[in-house]
C-alpha cells in the first residue's frame, strides 16, 4: 500500500514539525513551567527573562505556558474537523465518480454553489446561529471545506472507476459499497492523505481566525488565535505575547504544507516509477 515515510526530505521535515507540535500539545502539563490561566498581577507585561522565557501578558500569565497549552484546542478541533471533512468529501467524491450521470451532475452543481460562498463568512453565519461549541465548529468546517475535497477525490476516482478491475467487480455484481471500499479507495488513498494534510493547514488557520474573532474558546482558556487577539493591544510593550502564538501557528501551517507538498510529490513520482495507474 503506502510505503510509510517516503524518502522525500520535504515530506519528512513537514511531518516532523507536525509531530513535534502534537507532542508539545500533549505534553503541555509536563512541560509548562506555570499554570496557563493563573493571574499574577505582580508580574504583568514582562519581557523575556530566565524565569519567563517568552515574557508575560497583561494579567501576568506566562506566555510560553499559554502557547504550549494553546495548541491543544486548535489541534484537536482542526484534526476533528479535517477528519470529518476528508471522510465525507471522500465518500461523496468517490460515489459521484462511480455513479456518474445525473446524480454526479446534480451533486457537482450543488457543490459549486457552496464553493462560491467565502468560508469565513459561511462559518460566521453558522456559528452565530448555532453557537460556538466545538461540535458546531467541526460541523461548520466540514460543510465549508468538504466540497473542495469532493472535487479532488472525484477527479482521482474518475481515473480508477473506468479500470478493468472495477468493471470486473461490477460484472461479479458487487454492490456499490464493497466496490468503493475494496477496489476504488485503496487506489486513491495517497490522494486522500495528501488532501488531508493540505486541508488541515487551511482548517488550522480558519479555526484560529475564528478564535481571534471571538468565536471559539472562551477566555481565559489558552488558544493561539485568542492570544493574538488579547495581546495585540500590548504589542509594542510585550511583542512576544502576540509573536509566540503567531510563530507557533505559522510553523504548524508551514509544516502541514511542506508535508502535503512532499507527500504528493513523493507518491506521485512513486506512481510513475511503479507504473501504477
Amino acid at each position: 500500500m503506502i510505503r510509510w515515510l517516503p524518502r522525500s526530505i520535504a515530506a519528512r521535515l513537514g511531518l516532523a514539525i507536525v509531530v513535534l507540535h502534537i507532542g508539545l500539545a500533549l505534553a503541555a502539563p509536563l512541560l509548562a513551567p506555570y499554570s496557563p490561566v493563573r493571574n499574577d498581577a505582580g508580574h504583568a507585561l514582562l519581557g523575556p527573562s530566565w524565569s519567563y522565557w517568552a515574557g508575560t501578558d497583561q494579567y501576568g500569565r506566562d506566555v510560553l505556558s499559554r502557547v504550549l497549552y494553546g495548541g491543544r484546542y486548535a489541534l484537536a478541533v482542526s484534526f476533528a474537523a479535517t477528519f470529518c471533512t476528508v471522510v465525507i468529501g471522500t465518500v461523496i467524491g468517490a460515489l459521484a465518480a462511480f455513479r456518474g450521470g445525473w446524480p454526479d451532475n446534480v451533486a457537482m452543481r450543488v457543490l459549486d454553489a457552496v464553493l462560491s460562498v467565502p468560508p469565513i463568512l459561511a462559518l460566521l453565519v453558522i456559528v452565530t446561529v448555532f453557537g460556538t461549541g466545538a461540535g458546531v465548529i467541526v460541523l461548520a468546517v466540514t460543510v465549508v471545506y468538504a466540497p473542495a475535497v469532493v472535487r479532488v477525490v472525484r477527479a482521482a476516482a474518475q481515473g480508477v472507476v473506468t479500470a478493468d478491475y472495477v468493471t470486473a467487480a461490477r460484472a461479479r455484481g458487487e454492490r456499490t459499497c464493497p466496490i468503493l471500499a475494496r477496489e476504488v479507495l485503496p487506489n486513491i488513498l495517497d490522494v486522500v492523505f495528501v488532501e488531508f494534510a493540505m486541508r488541515a493547514s487551511w482548517v488550522v488557520l480558519l479555526i484560529s481566525s475564528l478564535s481571534f474573532l471571538g468565536f471559539g474558546v472562551n477566555p481565559p482558556a489558552p488558544d493561539w488565535g485568542l492570544m493574538v487577539a488579547e495581546n495585540r493591544t500590548a504589542i509594542t510593550v510585550v511583542p512576544w505575547g502576540s509573536l509566540a502564538p503567531i510563530l507557533a501557528l505559522a510553523t504548524l501551517v508551514v509544516g502541514l504544507n511542506v508535508a502535503a507538498d512532499g507527500l504528493s510529490k513523493a507518491w506521485g513520482v512513486d506512481r510513475i516509477r511503479t507504473g501504477a495507474p
Partner: protein
C-alpha cells in the same frame, strides 16, 4: 536496394538502469546496421530491450537508464556525443519516430492541420500560410487519407484509430527524415486497418528511400515489412538474418521456439468438441450508444464445452455484445437467456441477477495489467469471488484458492504478490483463475491474448482449451486475430457493423465460400512468412441484400448473409 554506407550504425551498445544498489542491464552489446532503403526489424518478447534500442536511435533513454558502453551513429553523427541543440536538430530533421498509440500522441484540442503544421514549421521557414497549408494537404494526401482538404480542420477524436496513425506518420515524414523508427506501429489496430498502414509504410520507405527500424512482437508484421530481422532476448542479440532466411530456416533454437508458437492460418484446427446442449442463447439482440445501434439484431447460441469465436474489426460490436452478456450493459432489445441450471434472464445488469446466476457467467479481460487491482494481492483477487458467491465452507477457501492457482498452472507461492510483481502471462492466469473461482459455465474472453507475447499467448490458449475440455465450459472468444481463432474455436461468428455476416464451423468458414467481408478479414491477416505478403486480394464492394431470405446456407450450419455488389 542501396547497400552503401549504413545510415544507422549501432556498435556494442549496452544500456543499464539502476534499481536499488545494483545495475540492471537491459541492452547488452548489441550491434546493428541499417542502410538507406532497408527495413530492419527488432523482434523479441517484452523486456528484450527492443524499444530501448529503437529510442536510443533518437538519443533518448528512459528516465533512470544510461548507456554503459558502445555507440550509436545516425547519418554519420554520434547521437550520444551530440550537444543538446544538435540532438534536437537530429530529431527534427534526420530521425522520425511513429509510436504505438498515435491517438494518445496527438493533442486532443488541436486541429489536425495545426498539428501537422507544427511538425512542418520546424523545417520550412516560409511564413506564407497558403504555401504551408498546401504542403499539409499534400502530406495528408501522401499518407492516403481521404479528403485531406476537409481533414485539416478536424480534431483527432473525429478520426478512426487507423486515420490517427496515418496523421502521426504524416507528421513523422513532414521533416523529410532519412531514418524512420516504428515502435509497434500497428499494435492495437484491427487486421484490415493494420494491413493498410503497413502497405503505406512500406510504400513510403521505398519512395523516400528511408532506413527503417521496426520494433514489433508480431511476426506477421515483421514478415510483411522487414528485409532483415534482428532477434533479441533479454537485451542480447540472438541472431540477425535476412527475413526470408530467418523465417525459412532459423539458426538459433530460441528463434525456432518463438516461430513455432506463432499461430498460423494454415494450422490444423484443434479437434472440435461434439455439439452439446446450448447454455446461452441470444435472439435478435440490439444494443447501442445513444441512437446508434452497435449490436444490431444478433442471434447466437453458445453450447456447453464449445469455443465460439466472435470476429470482426474494431467497432463491429463484439465487445458490446460481450458486455451485454456479462451484465455490464443493458441491451435495448432482444432476448438473452441462460439455459443451464437454474436458468435465467441475462438481459438484466449483473447487480440485479440472482447470486446463483451471476457466478455462471465470468469475464476475462484483454489487458491483465489493468484487470487486477494494483493494491490487492493475488490471493485477494482470486478469493473475492469465493467469498462473494459463498462457495464452499469458509475454512476451505484458502485451500480452494491454492487449488485454483494450481489449475491455471501458477505457483501458489505467488499468492502474496501484488500484480506489479508478476509477468504479463502470470497476470492473465490470475485473471483466468479469478474468473474460474465462481465455477462458471460460460467464460467470456475478450481479446485475452492480444497484450501477450507469442510464446505466452500459446500457453494461455492451451490453458483455456484444457479448461474448457475438463470443465465443459462454454467460451465466447472475442478476437480480431484469425490465426488465433483458427487454433482454438469450434465455431466462428463474423460481425460487421453490429450485424452477423457469416457463421459456421471453423473448418467451414476457413474453407469458404465466404461473405466478402470475411474474405477481406482472412486476406488481411498477416502470416509469419515473407512470401505470403502480397496475396491480399481486393474484395468486391458490397452491400446487404435484403431480398427474400437473408441467409445463404452452404450446409452443416454454415450461413452467409446474402449480399450483392454495390451499385453506384
Amino acid at each position: 536496394m542501396n547497400q552503401g554506407e549504413p545510415l544507422v550504425e549501432v556498435r556494442d551498445l549496452s544500456v543499464a538502469y539502476r534499481a536499488g544498489d545494483s545495475d540492471i542491464e537491459v541492452v547488452r552489446e548489441v550491434s546493428l546496421r541499417v542502410a538507406a532503403g532497408e527495413t530492419l526489424a527488432l523482434v523479441g518478447e517484452s523486456g528484450s530491450g527492443k524499444s530501448t534500442i529503437a529510442t536510443a536511435l533518437l538519443g533518448h533513454l528512459r528516465h533512470g537508464s544510461r548507456r554503459t558502453a558502445g555507440s550509436v551513429r545516425v547519418a554519420g553523427q554520434d547521437v550520444f556525443g551530440l550537444a543538446p541543440l544538435a540532438l534536437r536538430a537530429l530529431r527534427r530533421g534526420t530521425v522520425a519516430m511513429v509510436a504505438q498509440n498515435a491517438g494518445a500522441a496527438l493533442t486532443p484540442s488541436m486541429r489536425i492541420g495545426r498539428q501537422v503544421d507544427e511538425a512542418l514549421r520546424t523545417v520550412t521557414h516560409t511564413r506564407d500560410t497558403r504555401v504551408r497549408r498546401r504542403r499539409i494537404v499534400e502530406l495528408l494526401d501522401h499518407v492516403r487519407l481521404p479528403e485531406p482538404r476537409r481533414l485539416v480542420d478536424r480534431y483527432p477524436h473525429e478520426l478512426s484509430g487507423g486515420q490517427q496513425q496515418r496523421v502521426a506518420i504524416a507528421m513523422a515524414i513532414a521533416a523529410q527524415p532519412r531514418v524512420l523508427v516504428l515502435d509497434e506501429p500497428t499494435t492495437g489496430l484491427d487486421v484490415i486497418t493494420q494491413r493498410g498502414i503497413l502497405d503505406l509504410l512500406a510504400a513510403l520507405a521505398d519512395e523516400l528511400d528511408l532506413a527503417t527500424v521496426l520494433v514489433s512482437h508480431d511476426f506477421g508484421v515483421v514478415a510483411a515489412m522487414a528485409d532483415r530481422v534482428h532477434v533479441l532476448r533479454a537485451g542480447r542479440t540472438v541472431e540477425t538474418a535476412p527475413a526470408a532466411r530467418l523465417f525459412a530456416d532459423p539458426a538459433q533454437p530460441y528463434t525456432r521456439e518463438l516461430l513455432a508458437s506463432v499461430p498460423r492460418l494454415s494450422d490444423e484446427p484443434r479437434p472440435s468438441v461434439p455439439a452439446a446442449a446450448p447454455v446461452v442463447t441470444c435472439e435478435h439482440v440490439r444494443a447501442g450508444y445513444g441512437g446508434r445501434p452497435v449490436v444490431d439484431d444478433v442471434s447466437l447460441e453458445l453450447r456447453r464445452g464449445e469455443v465460439l469465436a466472435l470476429v470482426g474489426e474494431s467497432g463491429s460490436g463484439k465487445s458490446t455484445l460481450a458486455a451485454a452478456l456479462a451484465g455490464l450493459r443493458t441491451p435495448s432489445g432482444g432476448v438473452l437467456r441462460y439455459l443451464g441450471e437454474p436458468g435465467g434472464d441475462l438481459a438484466v445488469p449483473a447487480g440485479k441477477r440472482p447470486l446463483d446466476l451471476r457466478r455462471r457467467v465470468a469475464l476475462v479481460f484483454q489487458n491483465a495489467d489493468t484487470a487486477l487491482n494494483p493494491r490487492r494481492s493475488v490471493r485477494d483477487a482470486v478469493r473475492r469471488p469465493l467469498t462473494l458467491f459463498g462457495i464452499g465452507p469458509r475454512a476451505e477457501r484458502a485451500a480452494r484458492t491454492t487449488q485454483l492457482l494450481r489449475d491455471v498452472a501458477l505457483d501458489p507461492a505467488l499468492q502474496e504478490r501484488l500484480p506489479a510483481q508478476l509477468s504479463g502471462g502470470q497476470r492473465q492466469r490470475v485473471g483466468i483463475a479469478r474468473a474460474l473461482a465462481g465455477e462458471p459455465d460460460v467464460i467470456i474472453a475478450d481479446e485475452i491474448t492480444t497484450a501477450l507475447d507469442v510464446s505466452v499467448q500459446a500457453q494461455v490458449l492451451d490453458l483455456l482449451d484444457e479448461l474448457r475440455r475438463e470443465r465443459r465450459l462454454a467460451c465466447l472468444f472475442i478476437s480480431h486475430d484469425l490465426a488465433v481463432v483458427r487454433g482454438i474455436a469450434d465455431r466462428i461468428l463474423v460481425l460487421y457493423q453490429g450485424k452477423v455476416v457469416e457463421q459456421g464451423s471453423t473448418r467451414a468458414v476457413f474453407a469458404g465460400p465466404n461473405h466478402p467481408y470475411t474474405r477481406a478479414l482472412i486476406s488481411a491477416a498477416l502470416e509469419p512468412d515473407p512470401g505470403a505478403g502480397a496475396a491480399a486480394e481486393s474484395a468486391p464492394r458490397w452491400e446487404h441484400d435484403d431480398r427474400d431470405d437473408e441467409w445463404i446456407d452452404t450446409g452443416a450450419g454454415h450461413l452467409i448473409r446474402r449480399w450483392r455488389e454495390e451499385r453506384r
